[in-house]
Amino acid sequence: MITTTFANNGQAQQRTRVSFRRPLRVTLAETTRAILRNRGGCWIGTVLVAMMLVTAILGPFVFPIDPNLQDIANRFAGPSASHLLGTDYLGRDLLARLICGCRIAMSVAFGSISLSAIVGVILGVISGYLEGSKLDYATIFVFDVVRSFPQVVLALAVVAVLGCSMLNLILALAFTVFPFYGRIARAQTLSVKESDYVKAAEAMGLNRMKIIFRHIVPNILAPVIVCLGMDLATIIIYEAGLSFLGLGVRPPTASWGIMLRNGYRYIETSPWMILWPAVAISLSMIAFSLFSEGLRVALDPKQRQRNV
């Protein structure tokens, strides 16, 4: 550990010496970047993600307004004391709907990502462990076929077949994402299975299932977890997108995508109806990408040392 730190320091000094720039100073740009990226960014991302989770779980209790309650007298209202973010074309409170949408987005994102990660990792590890077998080729083939559709289009087709509902949306999105986890898990397994502890476990005569789940799976999870963070953001966007098209969550339920869909219909009269869900979606994207960046740094020992 000491040696690597020393090596890193040496490299850094050498770099500053050969470059023609002035030595690095703390400038506004560097600071912003440091905050946005590494440790600071991870911190902001984590806080934002935590806030979203808290909103999703506690929101309806803290802010007990029915997202479908209509206040026809106050249609298309801007932000005011009675409706903090304004109302939509039926006079429904936009803040309450945003909170409800947050719940939907989080449940779809976490639901489909955990489903796809579990299925993908199990398939990937088994296929990697049995490298070269027929099962391995079959799994790779399935992964490649699913990956050769544009994700949105495939999700759209699957939802069309299964019918619109939140559960089907989760299944469809999980179906489009799982090959990516499978590929990562397989690639990791190929390197892990050559390691001594796996060889030792094999020599001890442990059965294959035990080797796979006790010894291989725990050791390949780090890159999978990093991917999780980024994919959560992607899934939130797909959920909103499919709901926007009318192929996701059913309309009376307030999803961010459905709010955008309603806003699109009244784009000329009521900017608020588009603005708030747009902000919510973009914010969740920023939150989850910063969070996953932080995860990557935290889970990668080399990176961690560089930043300490």
């Binding site: 077949v161 909103a240 900017p271 973009s282």
Partner: protein
């Protein structure tokens, strides 16, 4: 490397067959009988049976799959259930709009992304660098359909400069190009930010290298060194990523086409899904995924060509 390229090419064939099978399986599971949809509520059982015979719907699954694959190989994708048009013709009409959208989006993204990235790298740690970094971060975070809605709200409603809907009159090139501006920008925003960040990182690495130091030691003008020498090498990683981007843009194009009401492939798919027009759904998704496979193939091969250090087995 040649071996890798050939292998990569050959791998496309089973993948496409797999895609066909999956597509067929999906639509096979889709509820509703195409024959009765085609004939409407007044259909007699005999007529339904006749149509089912003609569409091979009474045959077992694997025969239907076989007919479907044979048809697809001959570019015969069947007829639309609703309009009766040839599916290949519908796709041929829609495809140019989508391709134009994707290419112009990619062009805008590459142009602005690479320029701002290079600028940020040459003005490292200055005010503009921080602004560009911040802007690219925000740009990456805005999904394309949200960007499309926001752009439409600002530039079609609040400040009505651009027309909101439609792809313009066929043949009227300036009109079509003018109507392409907003959709293409919306599609490009995320990639703009991504390419800008990527170019900045790779440009910084190149600017640190020995040959740039040598060029500077010879007192070559600063800007000349940066843009003539450094950018040429720094541009390689962003370019290889663009190949992957082309495929991803296809997915984004679905939303953009719906929002701006452009008659492209994405709109064809979504409309057909709502109308339960199976042959069109199948055909259009098939073409979309073929384009996607092609883009991925080109990206993989360009990786291999650009970076010979990568070992393939």
């Amino acid at each position: 490397m040649l071996k890798y390229v050939v292998k990569r090419f050959l791998w496309v064939i089973p993948t496409v067959l797999g895609v066909l099978t999956l597509l067929f399986g999906l639509t096979y599971l889709l509820p509703g009988d195409p024959a009765s949809v085609m004939l409407g509520p007044r259909a007699t059982p005999e007529l339904i049976n006749e149509i089912r015979e003609r569409l091979h719907l009474n045959d077992p699954f694997y025969f239907q799959l076989w007919y479907y694959i044979i048809g697809a190989v001959r570019f015969d994708l069947g007829h639309s259930i609703n309009s009766g048009f040839d599916v290949s013709r519908l796709i041929a009409d829609a495809l140019p709009h989508t391709v134009a959208l994707a290419i112009s989006g990619l062009g805008i993204a590459a142009l602005i992304g690479i320029i701002t990235g290079a600028f940020a790298a040459t003005h490292r740690s200055k005010y503009m660098d921080g602004m560009i970094t911040l802007a690219s971060l925000v740009a990456v975070a805005i999904p394309d359909f949200v960007a499309a809605l926001l752009l439409m709200m600002v530039f079609c409603v609040q400040i009505p400069i651009f027309p909101a809907l439609g792809a313009g009159e066929a043949g009227n090139i300036p009109d079509m190009a003018w109507r392409l501006v907003l959709p293409a920008t919306a599609l490009a925003i995320g990639w703009m930010g991504y390419l800008s960040r990527l170019t900045r990182e790779s440009m910084l690495q190149v600017l640190d290298s020995d040959y740039i130091r040598t060029a500077r030691a010879f007192a070559a003008p600063h800007r000349f060194v940066a843009y003539k020498y450094a950018l040429k090498n720094a541009i390689i990683p962003p370019i290889t990523v663009i190949g992957l981007g082309a495929g991803k843009l296809l997915g984004g194009a679905v939303f953009i086409e719906i929002i701006f009401n452009r008659p492209g492939l994405g709109k064809l798919i979504v409309d057909a899904v709502f109308a339960r027009d199976l042959p069109v759904v199948q055909g259009a998704i098939l073409v979309a995924s073929l384009l996607f496979i092609l883009a991925n193939l080109l990206a993989d091969i360009s990786y291999a060509v650009v970076d010979p250090r990568i070992q393939y087995d």
